[in-house]
Structures are given as C-alpha cells and as structure tokens.
Symmetry: C2
Subunit: 115 residues, 2 copies
DNA sequence: TGACATATATCCGTAACGGATATACTGTTT
DNA sequence: AAACAGTATATCCGTTACGGATATATGTCA
C-alpha cells in the first residue's frame, strides 16, 4: 500500500516489527525473531524467509546496518551477525509508530462514540 | 507474516484498513478508498488494484459481503456496489486492533523508560 | 546420543500490492 | 456547449513481499 508524504520506502509489517525489535538495542537475526515474538506477545511469528529477506532489503534501504559490537567476546557465537538501527531507520520507525497511534485513536473514538 | 492463534486469515494492512473503514458503516468501493484516506489522515493511499483485489479476497474469506441497502434511491448511482462487515469481519478487526494497541503500548514503554 | 534450541541462510511457489489502463457518468468551470 | 476534474467500477499484469521447506552446524540438556 502506498503511503503518502512520509518515509520513502513504505514500511511492510515485517519491516516495522524488525525496526521495533531493534529499537530495543542491537540484535542478531535469531534475536530479532525472538524479540518480534516478545513484542507482539507471541502473536507475530516471523519465519526465516521473511526475516533474512527483510534484513537484506532493509540494509539496502539504509534502515539498518551491521555493527561490529560484540557484547561479550567469551560468550559470543562467531556466526552471529549483529544489526542496529540507522538514524533513517529510527526516523522511519517513529513515523510508522505515529501512524499506528493515529489508527488506534480513530478506532477507539469509533467504538466509544459509536460511528 | 504468520500470525499465531488468532483469526484464520492473517490480515494484511490493506485488509485491516478496509475493515476499519467499513466499521464506520456500509460503503461502496470508492467510499472505502476515501474512508481509508480519512482514517489515516491522508497517509494511506489505496489504489484501485489493491482495493478491488482485496475486496474480492475478503468476500471469499467471509470478512465482508455485498449489501442491498440503498440509503437514498433518488440520489443513488446505479453502478454502486455497497459492502458491509460480516460478524467474522468485525471479529477479525477487533483482534487486529488489539494487536495494534499492544504494539503501540510496547513501543510507548520503550520510549518512556528507555529500553 | 538423541533431541531440541540456537543460528544463519537460500530457494522458490504463492499471495499481495499497486500503477496503468479502460469505461462512463456527474458536476463545475469557462 | 465544451472542457475538465472528480466520482465510480473494474481488470490486467509486472514487481515485490511473504513464508514454508530446506540445508547446515553448533550448543545444551537429559
């Protein structure tokens, strides 16, 4: 769906959830998956196809980037690749979140005051 | 994206916005388009391809149905086809709305208390 | 040692999106 | 009266996104 006058690449739900997960701090792929599940109380289950496909697109779009940071080198799994939000990613998340708030507010008014 | 343990057909943003528009009352295609735009403060622009494609799928899924109701026969355009929510559509909207609220709440906590 | 969770990643069929296009009526402007 | 913009429905089809299946390999626990 086209989104007017906001962030250039309109956010899909998968992209939005990944951004939200990374707003919690840097994560590796599997960690993002788990964070998305936690953030949605288990409602959203993201498969590996969606996850890694979205990550690739998001890096190309400049929303996220790989980061070198290794929290604990001793405990670390060498295979892990950590990702973090870019400023553009943070901005896109903020815009999308505001859209979510607006939609919830509109729906709330509709329910309370009965269309 | 898969959505666990809720409504059988996981809602795409287009489907969600159409359901929300119809929660306002019965609408014809073009009316849905305008309502979606209004509900999102002009942020979401749904093209005819997405609109009529989604309507077709939603009727098949039992989320909406055509209704005979003609508000004002004198003022009416014969071409108009009106749609309304089915009970299943209302239920799916309610579930999806709760997911939106949850996501907004999670994000809000993250912002206020800083991850 | 078998099973399960963690972890990354690709492949590819299916579904959804969305612009372009077509048609036609209505209402307003010049 | 002609021209234009807006309303209204609808299809076509290229592009994108989704997401299950699959592959591989390590860590962990009973």
């Amino acid at each position: 769906m086209a989104v007017k006058s906001t962030a250039p690449p309109p956010l899909t739900p998968a992209v939005f959830h990944i951004l939200l997960a990374l707003s919690q701090g840097e994560r590796h792929g599997y960690g993002i998956m788990k964070q998305v599940e936690a953030d949605s109380r288990g409602a959203v289950a993201m498969g590996p196809g969606t996850l890694y496909g979205s990550i690739k697109r998001m890096i190309e779009a400049g929303l996220i980037q790989e980061c070198d940071k290794r929290v604990d080198p001793e405990m670390d799994d060498e295979r892990r690749i950590y990702y973090e939000l870019t400023p553009a990613g943070s901005a896109a998340l903020a815009v999308e979140l505001q859209r979510y708030r607006d939609v919830v507010a509109v729906a709330q008014i509709r329910i309370v005051y009965g269309h």
